[in-house]
């Protein structure tokens, strides 16, 4: 905050010490001298800093950075401290609500394990250095005199958007490198690829509220699919009124599955066959649906009911029921997520799912063209696991000399067999822009501690704009906690200044953003008007700029279905499900105590890893809750305590991603296991994404028992009727269309 003259944090300190000074007055201490820095004035409560009214919380608009959804926030600031985060009602993404990860944003900010000083590797270990030394080293390695040029420079980040994406692009083009790896393990890359190819739009707008029935093949839209808070809001609309029905097909019950009207576990990797079977059945019946070209029709014929039952394990009467639900209860919306996407045949499966949308006429009703943010360079660069594979490959090939890492943790996420850690040691100079000592950061040669999401400036454009493309402003909610931290944008700007004089006109990233935002064309700044100062004030107050979107159109294109079954894997009979959830996400939130203590929504386990098994399989292996089980793939093994429940396919074992950190502070380190480490290096055939759900494993009894620490003494209600249920019929009679 370059234009703020009074240092809020210092002010607070003075208040504290001023009190001490007064108390010492009896010892002949002059009361006008505070103990701190020998300053000769005491600022009393009667003269507070501008905007600070002791005891009154003030709310400032900002943007959540806990995941990529880009929810708008209001942060409560009292006496210079941010205390509580709530949703910004003006944001079209979250409409004033937040998820648990958003709530825990303050714990990332106030985390006791933050890095508070730049560090440089000296003699094998990281040692604190001054910013001058750190920047001198950086200048030596990447400044204009370094001669750094071309693809020997790489940068790996999580999803980026807004001016952050722009400034990273500036750096990449300044060096002349194309190697910006955007990695996210929790992604919807395959879904996006299919949407692009079959609808002509990577992330079409989904209208849950218009749908009468939603058929989801593993899309955990309440948990980890694109924009959970937004979709939960949409889900509420979908359930009210005529009350749509939700059918979920997935091998392990997710939060969304837990809320479904019908939950079915198809054999893992056969979801595409099931979708084709449903499509074939609907077309066979000659129901009033969109017809398909005869070539496509022909390719579907092999998916008759009995064949599909055999492949998927879903009984024919269930397939018929789903088909009739889609036709009777429409408009239908059919979606696919992680457990369908992340197989070797993921693309084909998702394409099969999309076929259902085309024949049910969802396109144009429940699926509409996305309204894109008008400024192309600021749109979100969405992360993928393909980039993780590409990064590992480049590292192994020793094709990078300098690597910047920011807001991602490839060293934790990459399967062990990719040997990413060994690859990292091939890079001559690794710079980590990081808040925490995570697995990737501790391997860096230069660690630059950055501001938290509550200290930094930024702009964000959500990948899924919910039909209303918005620029969401992130503004500091308080002064930086630590003197020796810097903004990521400021550092990027500094590095650019080392290379070119073009950026000298910007004093800092704040100035850069402010100049850029107020000078944006009218179609971006939308309704925000007035002179620059007015505009800026307005934007700071509302936190969101609603842009005039570029609404595309959907061009549905049918392709011949080439669904391929999964390959059998003899010797490894079980499917490993590295599940992700709303909470620890991909492991990035394992250092937040609230989220460690928030029970997993389905298993209710806290503070550790577990392995979910079906009672049938558990009985076969002689396992009960709390027993340790060894899960072994061709690439390694992990051990975890078993949680036995029926919401999982009997041939699958689910081990959640998130724990098993070897670094990452006191709350995360050395807790549980990381299933990503034992994944085989399998790729989705069409998109090159990491097929995270394709690894086959064996499961064996580790003959060890411990108490499974989870919430709740009883798994069933024992007739106590805490949660009562009523039929949808009855609801329609009593509440009807609302």
């Amino acid at each position: 905050m370059s234009n703020v003259k009074v240092n809020r944090r210092k002010f607070l300190k003075m208040l504290g010490w001023g009190g001490a000074g007064t108390a010492l007055a009896g010892c002949d201490m002059p009361t006008t001298v505070t103990l701190e820095e020998g300053k000769e004035e005491v600022v009393s409560y009667l003269m507070p800093e501008e905007y600070v009214i002791p005891g009154i919380g003030v709310w400032y608009a900002s943007t959540c950075t806990q995941c990529e959804a880009g929810c708008g926030l209001h942060g409560r600031v009292r006496e210079g401290r941010v205390l509580k985060l709530e949703g910004n009602p003006d944001s079209p993404i979250n409409h004033g609500n937040t998820c648990l990860m958003g709530q825990a944003g303050v714990q990332a900010h106030y985390n006791p394990d933050r890095i508070t000083s730049p560090m440089m590797r000296k003699g094998g270990s990281l040692q604190n250095v001054s910013w001058d030394d750190a920047m001198a080293e950086l200048s030596k390695r990447v400044g204009s005199a370094s001669g750094l040029k071309g693809d020997r420079f790489g940068m790996v980040t999580g999803t980026v958007s807004g001016h952050q994406a722009v400034i990273i692009d500036e750096l990449m083009s300044s060096v002349g490198s194309k190697n910006h790896y955007v990695t996210e393990v929790v992604n919807t890359s395959v879904w996006s690829a299919v949407c692009r190819d079959m609808l002509g739009d990577e992330l079409p707008t989904l209208n849950f509220d218009k749908a009468g029935v939603v058929l989801s093949f593993g899309a955990d839209f309440m948990g980890t699919w694109t924009s959970p808070v937004h979709y939960m809001g949409e889900y509420a609309k979908f359930r009210k009124g005529k009350r749509g029905a939700l059918i979920q097909i997935e091998p392990k019950m997710t939060l969304t599955g837990g809320n479904a009207d019908l939950w079915l576990a198809a054999n893992p990797g056969t979801e595409g066959a099931l979708a084709l079977g449903i499509a074939n059945f609907i077309l066979d019946r000659g129901w009033n649906v969109n017809d398909v070209p005869s070539s496509v029709r022909k390719s579907l014929q092999q998916y008759n009911l009995s064949a599909v039952e055999k492949v998927t394990g879903i009984a024919t009467d269930k397939i018929k029921r789903i088909a009739s639900m889609l036709t009777e209860r429409g408009p239908a919306l059919v979606i696919a997520g992680a457990s369908t996407e992340n197989h070797e045949n993921g693309y084909d499966s998702v394409a099969s799912v999309m076929l259902l949308n085309l024949i049910m006429g969802s396109v144009g009703s429940t699926i509409e063209a996305n309204s894109r943010f008008p400024e192309k360079s600021m749109r979100a660069k969405q992360g993928s696991s393909k980039d993780l594979l590409l990064l590992a490959k480049s590292l192994k090939a020793k094709s990078l000399d300098v690597l910047f890492t920011y807001n991602t943790n490839p060293s934790y996420s990459a399967p062990a067999v990719l040997q990413l850690d060994e690859g990292l040691s091939n890079v001559g100079f690794k710079v980590a822009f990081s808040m925490f000592p995570d697995e990737t950061t501790v391997k860096a040669d230069l660690v630059l501690p950055i501001f938290s999401g509550m200290e930094d400036w930024g702009t964000h454009v959500a990948a899924y704009g919910a039909g209303e493309p918005t620029l969401s402003l992130q503004q500091p909610l308080m002064e930086p906690l630590y003197k020796e931290t810097r903004g990521f944008g400021d550092l990027m700007l500094n590095i650019l200044k080392m290379r070119s004089k073009d950026f000298d006109k910007f004093a800092d990233y704040y100035g850069y953003i402010q100049t850029a935002v107020v000078n944006m064309p009218a179609n971006v700044v939308g309704s925000v008007t007035g002179d620059h100062a007015d505009m800026w004030t307005n934007i700071l107050q509302t936190g969101v700029i609603k842009a005039k979107g570029e609404k595309g159109s959907l061009t549905p294109k049918l392709v011949e279905m080439k669904y391929k079954p999964q390959q059998e894997n003899a010797g490894y009979p079980m499917h490993l499900i590295p599940s992700t959830g709303l909470g620890l996400w991909d492991g990035r939130h394992a250092n937040l105590p609230w989220l460690q203590e928030a029970p997993d929504q389905i298993s209710k386990v806290v503070w550790g890893s577990w392995a979910e098994l079906h009672p049938k399989k558990a009985a076969e292996l002689g396992l009960k809750n709390g027993d340790y089980v060894r899960v072994t793939s061709a690439s390694g093994s992990v051990e975890a305590q078993v949680y036995v429940h029926k919401g999982i396919h009997p041939d699958a074992v689910a081990v959640p991603v998130g724990q098993g950190h070897t670094e990452y502070g006191r709350y995360a380190k050395g807790r549980g296991v990381n299933p990503m480490k034992i994944l085989n290096p399998l790729m989705e055939r069409r998109t090159g994404e990491l097929a995270t759900y394709a690894t086959r494993v064996t499961v064996s009894n580790a003959h060890q028992h411990g108490k499974l620490v989870h919430m709740g003494g009883s798994e069933i209600q024992m007739g106590r009727k805490f949660v009562r249920t009523v039929s949808a019929d009855s609801l329609r009679r009593t509440e009807g269309e609302v």
Binding site: K84, V106, M325, K616, M711, V723
Partner: protein, 280 residues
């Protein structure tokens, strides 16, 4: 309460629970939670941690049942014969129900838990001696005892800077529980008083209600007939006082119910039944 007082004011003391019994209520705050749109995501619970200075206890103490989650999401499985829970799971946010005839109140030997004129079961931390009778008597199991001085290691610096100064951090030996965010109620009341008006519906949002991604939680004054929560209570034929059973309702099909209503505790939280589409 002398005999003379009772005799003189007999009609006042024999008022029905619907009329507030012997309490002179200013407000009776209540909730309505729609279990059909509650997804069980835990956002409310985490918001409660953020708002109410709830201690994080860690794995070992959690195992002993010493977690301090004032608001917890309970998940129940159906008792099914089949191999799969085809109808999903059942979730319910469970917190103090602020009973009108609370079982926790009369057993407190030091009157640390008492009934406020707002209809809340308040806990006076300074008065609490930690007998835990109240917790033992609570059918909902929503009272949480400080077995340890959690403040010593729950908020290592600078996590302590997040603590909400509007309410205290509790020490060992004290019982605590959901307050319906009483500090937010106070702020709203103060603001209304400053603006020389009465409280109106929407002035107060609890932390859980504010966070809920599906807006499943509705909070308000059940004595204000214009409040959303009152309207919901009326629509679902739930009224103050003892037991509202399905058979007593004019339309037995409406979804509203109160957990453990049969115990005559007069809970202030109404739940709407989870809907199941049996045709699917």
């Amino acid at each position: 309460m002398s005999l003379k007082n009772i005799l003189e004011n007999f009609s006042y003391f024999r008022r029905d629970a619907e009329m507030g019994g012997h309490h002179e209520y200013e407000h009776r705050f209540g909730m309505a939670i729609d279990l059909d749109i509650c997804t069980g995501c835990n956002s409310c619970s985490t918001a409660c941690y953020a708002e109410n200075n709830l201690a994080v206890v860690g794995k070992d103490k959690f195992e002993k049942g010493q977690a301090m989650h004032w608001l917890r999401i309970e998940r129940y499985w159906d008792e099914i014969e089949g191999d799969f829970p085809e109808q999903g799971a059942k979730f319910i946010p469970m917190m103090c129900q602020q009973c009108g005839a609370a079982t926790c109140e009369p057993v407190c030997p030091v009157a640390a838990t008492y009934h406020t004129p707002d209809g809340l079961n308040a806990q006076v931390y300074n008065r609490c001696i930690g007998s835990r009778y109240c917790s033992n008597n609570c059918p909902f199991r929503v009272r949480y005892f400080n077995f340890w001085s959690y403040y010593e290691d729950s908020w290592p610096e600078p996590l302590n800077m997040q603590l909400n100064p509007d309410l205290s951090v509790r020490d060992k030996g004290v019982m605590e529980k959901c307050t319906y965010c009483i500090q937010r109620i106070r702020v709203a009341k103060d603001t209304a008083a400053r603006e020389e008006r009465t409280l109106v519906d929407g002035d107060i949002t609890t932390a859980c209600q504010q966070a809920c991604p599906t807006d499943a939680i509705v909070f308000g004054d059940t004595m204000d007939p214009k409040s959303k929560v009152s309207k919901m209570w009326a629509k679902h034929q739930i009224h103050r006082g003892p037991v509202t059973q399905k058979k007593d309702k004019a339309n037995g099909e409406v979804r509203g119910y109160r957990v453990f209503d049969e115990l005559n505790v007069d809970p202030s939280t109404m739940y709407l039944e989870r809907v199941r589409d049996t045709e699917v």
